[in-house]
Amino acid sequence: MRSIGEYIRLYFIIEAQYIKARLQYRVDFIISSIGMFFSSLITLGVFWVIFDTVPDLAGWSLMEMAFIYAFYMIAISPMQIIFDHFWQLRFNLQQGNFLKYYFRPLNMMFYYTSEMFDLKGLTQLFVGTALLIYTASQLHVAWTFGRVGLLFITLFSAALVQISIVVLAACAAFWVLDSYPVLGLAWRLREFAPYPMSIFDGAFRFTFTYVLPIGFIAFYPSQIFLRPEEVSHLTYFSPVIGIGLFALTYWVWTKGVNSYTGTGS
């Protein structure tokens, strides 16, 4: 077993090489970043148009919605930047080149993940961070050391929820031949995360809280900062949900890796 420190050092070495190789395609980077920038802003545009007609949405103001959305953008960035390789898992499995990951003295999920680092995702992270800082100052969020600590913990667990949902869907490729629709559905779910869960009722709220817990990507955790006095007790479960879901994902991944038989050629 290698230590965590060793893995971190290794990760930086691998990514440095990867980025050097990617820098050959500068136009690609610029165009993709522009695409990323626009796609980060579209939901904000939707909010802006809605709030041109109504003053609040289930009691939430435009600025509060923008804060939740900023939280969301940051929370989904690690999936985009670090775990982007999982989009290709289905091709690697079908073509058989997945076999190479079995032959290195490294954790397989680490090795597989490290092979790609999505530079354009950084745009999303920057836009999200800037928006979070701006909206927090407009909303007069009082930043104490404790709050900043909570921000990192909640963002970390929210990021784990998003990563787990997509990686779990990608793992369907171990058992299903045409797995893209599963991934497409999982990816689409995240679009529903920045809406206040309080607008939903019945089956939908239950589903988004307990079954497909996208409420934990943005809405529940950001309540700590927006409405500390009326935080739902569910919010405090977010680290448990994030870590628990990731553990489940890792278990499923290991099952998949152990059951994969290659393509036979």
Partner: protein, 263 residues
């Protein structure tokens, strides 16, 4: 014409092979419909009509809009750019085929497939699960025609992005940017009536609204003056012809930079 229709039939049949995909798309769309339902429900909490649209009309507009989105997503941009990068496009040049027409008819097959497996079930979900009645009228009859024109206009944008691959390698960025611009400016996410008045009048002059807003208005407010429908259709026809011709000219220019390694 007949030879191209054979391609439409072919890609329709290919669509039949994958049954799992449409089912999950439908589940995804069902969740989207639910989210849209609750979202607009809370927007309409204190009023019966907003911007001269009732809740039913707005929900119908947004819900059908999401089905049209799946209908028009035929990945023409990805396909064309792939064929250009891999040099496959050269094989079409030796055949008695017009490339643009060929791609148009192939993607029509896919669209017809999604019409059957996504759009029609979506309409059923809207009426049966969400209990929103679909009004009938003159516009309902014209909706298929308007949708067909919207398909051609949307195809032109996709095709244009695909041809850009003659110059650039990046499809992801261009395709995403194109999709976002169309979604934001066409009424696909929010009915155009909700946009600020000044912005709205600009958007009505652009081609994007003819992809979503025009057919969706025919379906949500089907009993307007027939004159209005006729002028809407004329605007669509004009954009379809102009964009089809422009992308054709662009292809002829772009193809000159094409160099394909032998072998």
């Amino acid at each position: 014409m007949r030879k191209y229709l054979a391609f439409t039939r072919g890609s329709f049949m290919v669509g039949l092979v994958y049954r799992f995909g449409p089912l999950l798309s439908l589940i995804g769309n069902f969740i989207y419909l639910g989210v849209a339902y609750y979202l607009w429900h809370s927007i309409y909490k204190n009023s019966d009509t907003l911007r001269s649209m009732t809740f039913n009309e707005t929900f119908l507009y947004v819900a059908i809009g999401s089905a049209v989105f799946i209908l028009l997503k035929t990945y023409v941009d990805w396909e064309v750019s792939y064929e250009i990068r891999e040099g496959i496009i050269s094989t079409y040049m030796t055949k008695p085929l017009d490339y643009q027409t060929y791609i148009l008819f192939t993607s029509l097959g896919q669209t017809l497939m999604s019409l059957m497996v996504i759009t029609i079930p979506t309409l059923l979900i809207i009426t049966l699960v969400f209990k929103v009645a679909i009004p009938l009228g003159m516009g309902t009859l014209l909706f298929p025609l308007s949708l067909l024109l919207a398909f051609v206009i949307s195809f032109c944008f996709d095709y244009f992005i695909g041809i850009l691959a003659f110059y650039t390698e990046s499809v992801w960025g261009l395709s995403t940017t194109k999709e976002i611009i169309i979604l934001a400016l066409s009424g696909a996410l929010i009915p155009l009536q909700f946009f600020p008045a000044k912005l709205q009048s600009i958007l009505l002059l652009l081609p994007f609204q003819t992809i979503y807003h025009t057919p969706l208005m025919m379906l949500t407010k089907p009993d307007q003056d027939p004159q209005i429908f006729v002028s809407m259709l004329i605007v669509q026809v004009v954009w379809a012809v102009v964009l089809y011709a422009l992308t054709r000219l662009f292809f002829e220019q772009a193809v000159k930079v094409l160099r394909i390694a032998g072998g």
